[in-house]
């Protein structure tokens, strides 16, 4: 029997029951564009699979219970110490289960890589404008995944009930408690009474292993189906248009590459976990509210939040005898709320500013959208300053600095540096546009100097290839929106203030160095 016959038999069996052949035929030939930055989302997806596998392994031994036990395992320094069953079973996984420590480390490292990949993927999508119509919905799903990831990660490292993670839960409890009016009630409901109680660990366990992974699966499925259905975006270049997709077919090239890449991500995660220790909970000891480890740090994706809380001014107000803790509410809930809502709404804000309602499948080069790129740089700067302050104690001890100075530097920095980053990035983008223009008009510098007969030195320029020239001129430069403040009869239009804001932003958004035009090229020819 030939291969074709054998495949035919299997296909016949399945197709007669599902009618899938037509759909499969089309989709096995589906084309995916290739670019290294498209791998970032894949890294996140594969890390999620690694998390499911390693997490399931850990559940076989982990006992999510706050029940008090006396430790009798093989780790001598904690012999006879009173601790929760959660902590004791984590020690058991680390010291007695063969491969258990490796799996714990893979699970933790994979979580860090998962979050890093999500953030990197988000930046790629933002800076290239991949969130524009028709992909706004998928952008929002992505923001949802990022938010869930932060929560899921926090719950995960809270489970072992060691001194460090218990301190993290204590801080989370204080944030809940700070919510006006209902805070202490919410906290008592979440913890089944006073902090820390015995209900919290089992509760967050089921959220961590069932509820949130379920939500992840649903959202990731939707995310991927949208990518599949809308087809992937592609970078601009010769032969690439808004109407086509240039790349490799799913079968066999993409399957081999993507499948192989999963193993590479898993292999690299295993390697890091084999050689780099992470979260050595046995060194921290079991949680008790009266003690703490110096240099308490959350995982990196929570670090910015901790940094904001650290730099908050000591502000608390009393209102008819009731307390409002602005020092917790502003950095812990209000600022993150504004940041994440703004991020989720950004596609709609940008399309409102530009008035652009068309579909976009070709990506922007970041320099050709200076305002957006500058906004991204501004947000990253804000997050970095906050993250730095989240590690201010470690920076202080490592570099022999005063913690007070670092705190004041970041308090001022978080206000001054982001706008500065905006201005610098925007200038940089415009300069890069100018360089592109020069390149098209005058060619590239060869480094060869010529001495002319009358003694003048000139550098020889070489024209760039037509492909490159096309890449540097194919982007769109839309003019700002025309929103006249007065109508034809000289009467102020309704919503004048909103229109003024919109046209101001539109002008800022469309600021650009004019790209090379046909007239420019003609002029060059005449010289």
């Amino acid at each position: 029997m030939t291969t074709e016959q054998r495949i035919g038999q299997v296909a016949n069996y399945v197709d007669e029951r599902t009618g899938a052949a037509a759909w499969m035929k089309k989709n096995l030939q589906k084309v995916f564009p290739d670019h290294w930055s498209f791998l970032l989302g894949e890294v996140a997806l594969y890390s999620f699979v690694i998390l499911l596998l390693s997490g399931t392994y850990l559940t076989f031994w982990f006992d999510p219970s706050a029940r008090e036990v006396i430790y009798e395992g093989s780790y001598a320094p904690l012999e006879g110490v009173q601790m929760s069953a959660a902590y004791a079973s984590t020690l058991h996984i680390s010291f007695e289960v063969r491969g258990g420590l490796l799996m714990r480390q893979i699970h933790h490292w994979a979580a860090l890589i998962f979050m890093a990949a999500i953030v990197a993927h988000l930046m790629r999508v933002f800076f290239t404008g991949a969130f524009r119509k028709p992909r706004e919905g998928n952008w929002i799903i992505g923001i949802g995944l990022l938010t869930l990831g932060i929560v899921e990660g926090f719950l995960g490292y809270s489970l072992p009930d060691d001194l460090l993670s218990g301190t993290g839960i204590r801080i989370a409890e204080a944030i809940i408690q700070a919510i006006p009016v209902v805070g202490s009630y919410l906290s008592y409901f979440a913890f089944g009474g006073a902090f820390p109680g015995e209900a919290f660990i089992p509760r967050i366990y089921i959220v961590h292993v069932l509820l949130l992974p379920g939500a992840f699966l649903a959202l990731i499925t939707a995310h991927l189906m949208m990518v599949w259905y809308q087809k992937h975006t592609q970078f601009p270049g010769p032969g690439r248009t808004e109407k086509n997709v240039v790349g490799y077919p799913l079968m066999p090239v993409y399957m081999a590459k993507a499948g192989g890449f999963f193993f590479i991500v898993f292999g690299v995660t295993a390697f890091i976990s084999a050689v780099a220790s992470i979260n050595p909970i046995w060194l921290y000891g079991p949680y008790t509210p009266g003690q703490i480890t110096a240099g308490s740090q959350p995982d990196w994706y929570m670090g910015w939040l901790d940094g904001l809380v650290r730099m908050a001014p000591p502000l608390e107000t009393y209102f008819f005898g009731y307390t409002i803790s602005w020092n917790i509410l502003i950095p812990g809930l209000i600022v993150p709320g504004i940041l994440f809502t703004g991020m989720a709404l950004y596609p709609f804000i940008e399309s409102w500013i530009t008035g652009d309602k068309r579909e976009h499948h070709l990506l922007d080069r970041p320099r050709n959208a200076p305002n957006r790129t500058a906004l991204g740089a501004m947000s990253i700067t804000f997050m970095l300053v906050a993250l730095i302050n989240g590690g201010n104690d470690l920076i202080a001890t490592h570099f022999d600095l005063s913690i007070n100075q670092i705190m004041w530097a970041t308090r001022i920095g978080i206000i001054v540096l982001p706008p500065l980053a905006f201005v610098i990035t925007k200038r940089l983008c415009l300069s890069l546009q100018r360089a592109d223009r020069e390149l098209v008009l005058h060619g590239r510098e060869t480094g060869r100097l010529l001495r002319l007969p009358h003694g003048e030195f000139v550098e020889v320029h070489e024209p760039i290839s037509p492909e490159k020239a096309y890449l540097l001129t194919s982007h769109e430069q839309a003019p700002p929106l025309a929103l006249p403040e007065v109508d034809g009869r000289g009467v102020k239009r309704a919503g004048a203030l909103r229109n003024k804001l919109r046209s101001r932003m539109s002008v800022a958004h469309s600021e650009a160095v004019p790209k090379v035009s046909t007239d420019d090229l003609k002029e060059i020819e005449h010289h």
Partner: protein, 330 residues
């Protein structure tokens, strides 16, 4: 739009450059061998993993840069890493050298449906709504709305027993008038003379069952004792009377977010919370001198009994730990 007339025409996809393996059978065979070697290395990794499983867990080996490593853990991890990584490398090398590398073009179709379909959809929805009569029968509409809204209340109600109401719980601790201060750990009563000038001790209220202290109690009861020279204090008369021979007692639970305020700087007499660096001045009744905390640490009023053991004279005069809405209301 400004780019309706392109200054430079699209030159189209660059010409495809064939790889050596595409036309040279020797190169193709070599690529095949390379792929097989990569898969082979993966198998070696799996063998290493299996072998490492039987290494006793108490053997440590020295690895340059990394230092002393547990051989069992390291072998398992490296074996797994090699076994997985090289499957991936093999597959990608295979795709890159032997599978077709000619880029293909597929066409996008507008996502938008045909106008006819869109019109028919609107009609279908409209007909459906009309057929149900929900627009005309307002009694049904309103009663359904009310029923759905009310039914959404049940989950809230069913979640009520997640926890008790806080009541006065957050405002009370185990400290009563006459409670002895005992060491933690150890649970021994303390005399003033046990504490040298400049030293710090963590204490808890004396308990009938010190073996089984609840974490919930420790989370509110933990207290720090610090002994200074009495003239170093800068307190008002009332707060000074709460100290005993230079010994002052504060709640160890940070007034900001409830971490244990565990770092004491002897030189400056500052208490520092390691979580968010709130800094409290011991000589001025734990006044906040830096960081995000908005309130001083609550001070415990202490004295000694007839035998010279330290004892709480009154309970805490305010709730300990982080702020909450009803903290100072009665």
């Amino acid at each position: 739009m400004s780019n309706e007339i392109e200054a430079i025409k699209d030159p189209g996809l660059p010409a495809h450059v064939h790889r050596k393996a595409d036309h040279d059978p020797v190169a193709a065979k070599r690529a095949e061998r390379q792929v097989a070697i990569l898969f082979g290395i993966s198998s070696v990794g799996t063998v290493l993993l299996i072998a490492s499983f039987f290494i006793p867990e108490d053997i440590f080996i020295f690895v340059p840069v990394m230092g002393s490593q547990n051989a069992h853990q390291l072998g398992l991890g490296l074996g797994m890493a090699i076994s997985l990584f090289f499957i991936g490398m093999g597959a990608i090398h295979w795709a890159k050298t032997l599978m077709p590398d000619q880029e293909v073009i597929a066409y996008r179709h507008e996502l938008r449906s045909e106008d006819v379909d869109r019109k028919e959809f609107v009609v279908a929805v409209k007909d459906g709504v009309e057929a149900s009569g929900i627009g005309r029968r307002s009694l049904i509409k309103r009663s359904l709305g009310a029923a759905l809204g009310l039914s959404a209340l049940s989950p809230i109600l069913l979640l009520r027993d997640l926890g008790p109401l806080p009541g006065n719980d957050l405002k009370e601790t185990s400290w009563k008038a006459g409670t002895y201060l005992v060491t933690d750990p150890g649970d021994r009563r303390i005399r003033a003379s046990d504490l040298e000038v400049g030293s710090v001790a963590q204490v808890l209220p004396e308990s009938d069952d010190p073996e089984h202290r609840k974490l919930n109690d420790i989370a509110k009861d933990a207290v720090l004792l610090i002994r200074l020279r009495p003239e170093e204090f800068n307190l008002d008369a009332e707060r000074l009377s709460w100290t005993h021979e230079g010994i002052i007692a504060f709640s160890k639970i940070c007034s900001h977010m409830g971490c244990a305020v565990a770092l004491y700087e002897q030189q400056t007499k500052h208490l520092l919370c390691p979580c968010h660096q709130s800094t409290f001045d011991v000589t001025r009744a734990a006044k906040v001198i830096f960081g995000p905390a908005a309130r001083p640490l609550p001070q415990l009023n202490i004295s000694v009994d007839g035998e010279g053991f330290l004892v709480a004279r009154t309970p805490f005069s305010e709730p300990v730990g982080p702020s909450f809405w009803g903290r100072i209301s009665s």
